[in-house]
């Protein structure tokens, strides 16, 4: 029998689906029903003409579980294709965060200074608050948000990761 690999890996999986009612519930139900992890899940329509949406999921598990996840996703009727971006080769992963910080005086100046270093943009400001917009890898966002915590962080909203493979091939090719 082929040996079983028990190491836990993290994967980014992209799924192209028909944008029909219930499709997201099907995907999420699959993960919860079978006890798979979801670290992040994003979805949006990407082809209005064909009514197709793209779902990006970050999950983790043993190689055997990860193969199961892909096979189970692929077997859903409205799924057009499943691509394991972590395996397919290099890919670009991005996440966007909106971060609200309130405060006065030094703290306020410090938050702006750090935002500058991280190339976060100010998208809203008042005398006592800033809203920063930042795009980048999940790790970079985490670091930025951690730094903002002592400086008056009150709200964070994150999109979750979107990803796409590098190079000239598409998801279905």
């Amino acid at each position: 029998m082929a040996p079983k690999d028990l190491s836990i890996e993290r994967r980014t999986i992209a799924v192209l689906v028909d944008n029909e009612p219930g499709v997201l519930a099907r995907v999420i139900g699959l993960f919860s029903g079978r006890g798979y992890n979801i670290e992040s899940l994003t979805v949006s329509e990407v082809d209005p003409a064909r009514r197709q949406s793209r779902i990006t999921i970050i999950t983790s598990g043993t190689p055997q579980i990860l193969e199961q996840i892909k096979a189970q996703l692929d077997r859903l009727v409205p799924v057009h294709g499943v691509s394991d971006l972590s395996q397919k080769g290099p890919s670009v992963e991005r996440e966007l965060a909106l971060v609200k910080v309130i405060g006065k005086g030094n703290k306020r100046v410090e938050s702006l200074r750090i935002a500058d270093i991280f190339r976060a943009r100010v998208v809203d400001s008042g005398l006592e608050h800033f809203i920063f917009e930042m795009t980048g890898s999940t790790d970079k966002l985490n670091v930025f948000i951690d730094l903002m915590r002592p400086l008056g962080l009150v709200d964070v909203s994150r999109t979750g990761v979107v990803a796409i493979s590098r190079g000239p091939t598409g998801l279905l090719s």
Partner: protein
């Protein structure tokens, strides 16, 4: 000329007849009254009125399993749909093609907690292969045809189509037939990868101790698959075992057949699985009832797995070579490649292998001691088999010991003659499944081998068989106990028989009579044959109360979580046993 306007209900019926449906199993209610009205005005479709919606789905499963066609169910919204859920889950677990039409409140009321509203697509999402809510009559023809296509193809399964009442009453002129429906994302693979076939042939050709482990996928694939399985097995000269769901795909009387494997499988089948060097899984899914303890499951074999569903592969057991495809197509390709390459197995090795197998077979693990004073349940099923084997007989079962004894002692020679709830293990499955098969095969002998506890779960269906004159025979192995539960309590819970005795059982003969059926009772071995013959010869539905030894246990048994060689062969075996010598012989 513009097409004639049709109501949604008429479209539903038209789509059913275009899909070749001749019978539906259903139960009316407010939300589906428009369909019942349309049914009333036509003669092409037969409707069988069940007594509980769960039974409607099981009946459709019996119909589907015994014909290879899609079974069709029609139920109302709310409680009609929720009652169907057990049946749908059963069909999903056993890969049975069913289309279930559910009524729904009108679209403008959805989400308002309207009378008899339930979130049917939400509730049935995890227990169907796919489901649809039809929100407009324009979508209706496409969805109907897609539903049949999805239910029938690939790995078959149940599909729900939820039909709001206003859609059923709306008028449209856009009906079209099945041939115009193509699915854009759903395209199951049926043809195997030629490279995988080549590789498989290489692996098989090296085998010294091969085994074929066949399953329900062979039945799903159609009668041709069974013929090819038989040819393939005989060409190789290898032993063949089958799961509960695959029984009948390979003729049971053939000397190359080792009987069922798994928890209540034969000694020879399980030890051959443990000791084989090349395993060819044909349409089976390495279920835990079959594998026992995973780290001890056939530890030294190279495994080839033929399955149409990629998610079945490497789910429980890691295999060396997956072949994704339809069983018929794969076996056909394998046979062609084998013959073309003029391959053959080492006859010397094969002879040694069969010698070991014959020694295991010599243990005669299904033997039991008959006595004159009381009917042994195994004896009852053996006699039932002997007295019915020369007829066209279909067998269904409920769930429990009687189900396992039926699998062990009834020898199935042909596919599609055996209907049992394997994956979900649903008590109450057998009677509706039996009459579903009887509807499809009116002249055949159809017997539900039942337990007295299970039969109570859908006993109301006797009323259905009476209404349609379906001469189904219910053969109750009556041991007064939930036997399978009692057996586990005896072996694993220190004999503390908590709630497993069925007090206040009905008098089954009188019960049969109350429904208008024939009731028969046997309690002594001497009267058994005559009474079975009376049952068979009766043109009426029969309830046969076969009173058997109440303490009998079902053996062989691999306690769950144990390995194949840790099998208990009879009442004198102890549960935790050191590895038996036989199991180690070839390791």
């Amino acid at each position: 000329m513009p097409a004639k306007k049709m109501t949604g209900s008429q479209m539903v019926l038209k789509a059913l007849s275009d899909q070749g449906v001749d019978v539906i199993f259903g139960y009316p209610g407010g939300a589906v009254l428009p369909i019942y009205d349309a049914l009333h005005q036509q003669n092409a479709l037969r409707h069988i009125l069940v007594r509980h919606e769960q039974a409607a789905v099981h009946a459709a499963e019996g119909y589907a399993r015994s014909t290879g066609k899609v079974g069709v169910v029609l139920v109302t919204s709310g409680p009609g749909a929720t009652n169907a859920v057990t049946g749908l889950t059963d069909a999903l677990m056993d890969s049975i093609p069913v289309v279930c039409l559910t009524g729904q409140v009108p679209t403008h009321l959805i989400g308002n907690d309207a009378f008899q509203e339930a979130d049917t697509t939400g509730i049935t999402r995890p227990c169907t292969k796919h489901n649809y809510l039809v929100k407009s009559i324009e979508d209706l023809p496409r969805v109907m045809h897609e539903a049949f296509y999805v239910a029938r193809t690939g790995r078959p399964g149940p599909v729900v189509v939820d039909l709001p009442k206003d859609v059923l009453q709306a008028k449209g002129d856009a009906y079209f037939g099945p041939d115009q429906v193509k699915h854009s994302s759903y395209r199951p693979r049926t043809k195997p990868d030629p490279k995988a076939i080549e590789k498989a042939i290489e692996m098989i050709a090296k085998a010294k101790r091969p085994i074929i482990y066949s399953g329900g996928g062979v039945i799903n694939s159609g009668d041709k698959a069974s013929r090819l399985l038989t040819r393939f097995t005989r060409t190789l000269g290898a032993p063949c075992t089958s799961t509960l769901m695959g029984l009948g795909a390979y003729p049971a009387s053939d000397p190359q057949f080792l009987g069922m494997l798994g928890m209540h499988g034969t000694y020879e089948a399980n030890l051959a699985m443990y000791n084989c060097d090349v395993m060819i899984n044909v349409g089976a899914r390495f279920d835990d009832r079959v594998t026992g303890r995973l780290d001890e499951f056939s530890p030294n074999s190279t495994k080839i797995h033929i399955d149409i569903d990629p998610s079945s592969i490497n789910k429980n057991v890691m295999v060396d070579l997956p072949i994704v495809g339809d069983v018929s197509a794969v076996l056909d390709a394998l046979l062609k490649a084998w013959t073309k390459g003029e391959h053959s197995l080492s006859q010397r090795a094969l002879k040694e292998w069969w010698k070991a197998i014959e020694a295991w077979r010599g243990r005669d693990c299904l033997s039991f001691r008959s006595v004159d004073s009381v009917i042994k349940p195994q004896h009852a099923i053996k006699r039932l088999y002997e007295l019915t084997k020369d007829r066209e007989t279909f067998i269904s079962t409920e769930v429990g010991q009687h189900q396992m004894w039926a699998a062990q002692y009834y020898k199935f020679e042909k596919p599609r003659h055996w209907m049992t709830s394997g994956g979900l293990g649903t008590m109450g499955y057998g009677l509706p499944a039996a009459y579903g098969a009887q509807v499809a095969h009116p002249d055949a002998l159809v017997i539900d081998i039942a337990g007295e506890a299970s039969i109570m779960m859908n006993i109301q269906e006797l009323s259905t068989v009476m209404q349609y004159g379906l001469p189904v025979k219910v053969f109750i192995i009556n041991n007064q106990w939930m036997g399978m539960v009692r057996q586990w309590q005896e072996l694993l819970h220190g004999g503390r028989y908590s709630q497993s005795y069925t007090a206040s059982l009905p008098d089954f003969v009188k019960l049969a009579e109350a429904f208008g059926a024939l009731g028969l009772r046997a309690s002594k071995p001497a009267e058994l044959d005559d009474l079975i013959m009376e049952m068979i010869d009766s043109p009426r539905p029969v309830v046969f109360d076969c009173q058997v030894d109440q303490t009998e246990n079902c053996f062989p048994m691999i306690p769950s979580g144990a390995a194949h060689y840790e099998m208990l062969l009879g009442p004198d075996d102890k549960a935790v046993k050191p590895v038996s010598e036989e199991g180690m012989v070839l390791v």
